[in-house]
């Protein structure tokens, strides 16, 4: 019945719904953009790690910098497996991801065409020294690692690797051309000192590059699963017994600890310090930035809500006009037994229908606007060699926009509905 009543004045109903749709579209787009912007900004601060993520260094805590987000670590200290286990048992810790790292010689493919050979390995002309970082990439969403292009190595792979912008520089590519390295191979050699004449022995791996990342998990241009890196670390450590005192005594160069929430990061860091290690986390920066972002979100949401309020006034006006036009029909409804609340309900349903239909169309338009702006922003960012923004929309935004539009419309319809319900049944017999 509500739909039929609305269709009696299709022009008015359409214009009212368009107003609601435009307001909902604006609200949806603004909230979605604000939310995405917030995610991107925080992602930039944390380098893609969890907001409550903590970096643990293989160093003792520095009492002078206690409480700072990014303290200067104390003296180097071996990060042992038992220390990592102890961190896992700290209160509020949800995950501990150890980081392994190996020193390697890198031979990019374009430079491996000619040159001398050492110990029967491949050409080393154009080679350079670097690190390969090993971390459980299946937990990449909690780590300070962001995929720029391509993908992460297959789980547990010892033949696939991701590279950073540093590697791209070595092969003469800019970040904008990052996709060109995908599918190419790179030779990586772990080395150890061979006794007694300090000859160097290599353990070569031919790895396929599957992605380009921005990572702060460790210091190196290569990122792989720990299995591959651990083998290199063991190879290098094998030289120590022959006199290489710089060879690592622990595979771990650090760890990433995730607290259950941002407010517990301080307590977890204290626990890590008590175990004997230095840690850093951008908690204070995040808290400050979140406050600013929250203000921006509120402003954008308020703009959308003002638009919705204007649309709501349109609904009120349209329904007041309908009440004026249908005085006699309302009287007739009462004359055949409708109660005040029956009449009120009929008008509220009409208002709700206007809001619901307008909200659905508006939300759809808002999503299109959001995706369009996201695509435009991404094409600009990638052309500048920057990571793009995730064009994903949390379900609660469109659902909230549609439900909100319907509810606001019902509230807007309450006044005319009440006026209609209070009309006298006598209207039915007035000529």
């Amino acid at each position: 019945m509500a739909g039929r009543e609305l269709l009696r004045r299709p022009g008015r109903a359409l214009l009212t719904m368009v107003a609601v749709a435009l307001a909902t579209a604006l609200l949806t787009a603004l909230v979605a953009i604000a939310t995405t912007g917030r995610t991107r900004v925080l992602d930039q601060i944390t380098h893609g790690a969890a907001l409550a993520g903590i970096s643990v260094a293989a160093a003792a805590p520095n009492p002078a910098d206690e409480g700072l987000d990014d303290p200067t670590p104390g003296h180097s200290k071996i990060l042992t497996a038992s220390a990592i286990q102890a961190m896992k048992h700290l209160p509020h810790v949800t995950a501990v991801v150890p980081i392994v790292q190996a020193e390697v010689i890198v031979i990019p493919p374009a430079k491996a065409l000619a040159g001398a050979h050492l110990g029967g390995g491949p050409s080393v002309t154009g080679s350079y020294g670097d690190n390969i970082v090993g971390v459980d990439l299946s937990r990449s969403s909690s780590l300070p690692i962001s995929l720029v292009v391509g993908k992460y190595p297959a789980v547990g792979s010892t033949t696939e690797v991701d590279v950073t912008a540093g590697y791209l520089n070595h092969v003469g590519l800019g970040v904008a051309a990052a996709h060109e390295v995908i599918g190419t191979e790179v030779e990586i050699g772990a080395f150890k000192v061979l006794s007694p004449d300090f000859r160097i022995g290599f353990r070569w791996s031919t790895l396929q590059i599957v992605g380009v990342v921005d990572q702060q998990a460790g210091s190196g241009d290569f990122l792989a699963y720990p299995g591959l890196v651990r083998a290199d670390v063991q190879w290098t450590a094998g030289g120590r017994i022959n006199g290489d005192t710089d060879a690592p005594r622990s595979p771990y160069v650090g760890a990433l600890v995730e607290a259950d929430q941002l407010s517990n990061v301080g307590e977890v860091r204290s626990g890590i310090a008590a175990i004997g290690y230095s840690s850093s986390a951008p908690e204070d920066v995040i808290v400050s930035v979140e406050k600013y972002l929250h203000v921006i979100e509120l402003i954008l949401t308020a703009i959308g809500l003002v638009a919705l309020a204007i649309a709501a006034l349109g609904i009120t006006n349209a329904l007041l006009a309908a009440v004026r036009e249908r005085r006699r029909e309302i009287g007739v409804m009462k004359a055949i037994g409708a109660r005040d609340r029956d009449v009120m309900r009929a008008f509220l349903v009409e208002a709700g229908c206007l809001g619901l239909v307008g909200g659905i169309f508006g939300t759809a338009v808002g999503i299109v606007i959001f995706v369009g702006i996201g695509d435009f922003a991404n094409s600009y960012l990638t052309s500048q060699g920057l990571r793009g923004v995730p064009i994903t929309l949390a379900t609660d935004i469109p659902v909230g926009a549609i439900v909100g539009a319907a509810l606001v419309s019902i509230v807007a319809g309450a006044f005319p509905a009440r006026r209609a319900s209070r009309l006298s049944a006598r209207e039915a017999v007035e000529a």
Partner: protein, 242 residues
Amino acid sequence: MSEPSVLVEGLSHRYVRREGTLEVLRDVHLVLERGEYVSLVGSSGSGKSTLLAVLGGLERPQSGRVTVAGTDLASLNGDGLALYRRQTVGFVFQHFGLLEALTAFENVELALTLNGVPSSVRRRRATELLCHVGLAARLSHRPHELSGGERQRVAIARAIANDPDVILADEPTGNLDVEAAETVADLLSSLRRDRGCTLVVVTHNPLMASHADAHYALRDGRLTEVAMQVADPKGRSGYELA
């Protein structure tokens, strides 16, 4: 002796307006037995519509006593009056009073819906009622697709949907041509015969009035019984005091 279908004792009604108090009904008395059919005439503003509104529960009686089908209307609150309008009285208006957005079927069904009749029952009953008034082929037509006579028959079907005790009709043939008026007059008249309804019909149509058992006139808010004159050769009619 059974209780009268309609009992009005000492009913007075006034409207307070900015320009002064307007007394539209003065000490009205009316007793109608079940199945009685009365016509009511009066000049514009004489109080006919107000009397129908009070009898129909659209307005509360301000003074005196009004009892319809054993219900004292002064004792009813808002919901009670709505229930009374749903179950005890049926209205037929000069302007038909159909909801333009609904089909003929839905207009009749609405009265049943408001009375809480289950869906399957009301669908069957609405169809039966429209067939009864000769509109079996017009169930899905909207009011604007129907002639005046057909609209009024839909209104009558709606008025009797919940088997009311009393039918209140306000100039039911006022907007109809002669042929349609005859059909409506016959249909309304049949209601007391077939259903035992009491009818109070405001009409200036002699054909309509000719079906009535008694004729009343309102003058200056006072109700008096009148005798009906035979229509003159030009088709006009008049009333004289009994």
